[in-house]
């Protein structure tokens, strides 16, 4: 199954948009060569690529999904992808036997802006710390690793926990925050723990494609 590349463009300032568009065009071309799909937003400076067999869904498809219940602040960009042979938007953040990906950009509230630290970045979509304190079986599959790109900073981590609709979910998550600490970029890729083991290569490939351009002052 092949899907055409999808890119969302909502340009504001033409100069950064042009630079990002250049990056995305190059990335799209490379993705096309490798048979991948681009999950991207020029206006929100988000880029990632998923294998061509994955189907990408936009935000409206996520109504009443388990993912929607986790989102408290309206995202500026939200797409999910599923590798299932019968893909659904609601595959995201479930213990599916096939990998899924969640791509999100959202503003940080004033309280989050003030309080956000490397420590609390793991909780921006799924409240990992809170679940752990409530006695849920939350297992860190890898220690959080800090990442820095100019003023952007963030963490990468891997977690296994009980999903909202039952069943264990294992996922990797990469988050970036801008210097002003008022915006966060997130990519999460996961599935059931056994799938996570088997699909480690594909999951890592999607994670490593994640790019948030370093635009000073953004």
């Amino acid at each position: 199954m092949r899907w055409s590349p999808r890119t969302v463009f909502n340009s504001r300032g033409w100069r950064p948009a042009l630079a990002v568009a250049g990056v995305l065009a190059l990335a799209s071309a490379l993705a096309a060569c490798s048979g991948n799909h681009v999950v991207a937003s020029s206006s929100q400076q988000f880029y990632a690529s998923v294998p061509s067999g994955w189907k990408v869904f936009e935000a409206p498809s996520l109504k009443n999904s388990s993912l929607e219940s986790l989102i408290s602040t309206k995202p500026q960009f939200l797409e999910v992808a599923s590798a299932s042979p019968r893909p659904r938007a609601t595959d995201a953040f479930t213990s599916s036997r096939y990998p899924w990906a969640i791509a999100m950009v959202r503003p940080l509230s004033p309280a989050e802006q003030s309080q956000l630290s490397f420590e609390s970045m793991s909780d921006v979509l799924v409240p990992v710390d809170e679940l752990s304190q409530l006695g849920d079986n939350v297992q860190l599959l890898s220690q959080p690793t800090e990442q820095v790109n100019g003023p952007l900073h963030g963490i990468v981590l891997a977690v296994q926990l009980q999903g909202p609709s039952g069943g264990q979910i294992a996922y990797q998550q990469s988050t970036w925050v801008n210097g002003a600490t008022n915006k966060i970029w997130l990519l999460m890729v996961g599935c059931s723990p056994s799938c996570y083991q088997q699909q480690q290569s594909a999951i890592s490939s999607v994670m490593s494609s994640f790019l948030v351009p370093d635009n000073k002052g953004k």
Binding site: Q113, S114, S117, F118, V148, N149, P151, H153
Partner: protein, 259 residues
Amino acid sequence: MAHLPNAQEKVGASGILPVGVVVPLRYLSPFYTRVTGKNPGAAGRSSAAVSLVAFGAVIALLLSSCSTSVTYAGSSSQGVFFKLPHSWTLYNQTTLQDMGLVNPTQTSQAEAQGDSYQLFVSFASPNPHLGTHGAPDLSGSSPWAYNFVESLGGSDAESMSLSSLQDLVLPVDTLTQQGDAQPLAATKYLVKGDLRGTRVAYEAKSQSGSVSFEQVALVNSPTNEVWVLAVGCSPSCFEAHRATIDHIVDSFTVTGQES
């Protein structure tokens, strides 16, 4: 936490940095760098960046020599500068140790343990005897300026937020919750290149009385180093010297180090 020595110790538990952490003397003096040509704080960083900072320091010194109204303070090796009125005295290292702001032994221990430790400390006041006999009197009628650069240890780096930056000199978050501190201005969030931070002003209770101060704190993108300048005195002094204090805080410049 690098709280000033006469901060209310009862609220010290909210601190994010160890109390009284200090630095080997070799790090503390910009004079050391200028005289010896050595730059211990920049080990492992690009020579271009060091040259740029050194050039900036030379320009700053040249400019300061053209003016009789201001003195440039700071550290070229730590990439931090600010302007003080010419009449203010920059305290020497012996006095800083007497005041409890510098403790080389504790700094070495903190560094060895991977905890947060100070890379640079300076303290200035128009009153040259503000803290020559123990901890400085922050709530007196003489304004003061307290500047430090700190390397953040693992846990401090992980928990550092824009909110916790305001607690680096006095634990204003806890004091505010106790009703012992109130903001004098809305918090300003700052982004300067790869640095982010806050500018705050508070009136807070300390053991020796109420103190008002304005503070800028910046942290680098990897969140492993902070640059702080706080300027203040008693509330009435703060009002009387507000323009001078604003000028000092406005002049606070951090060129920082490569991320």
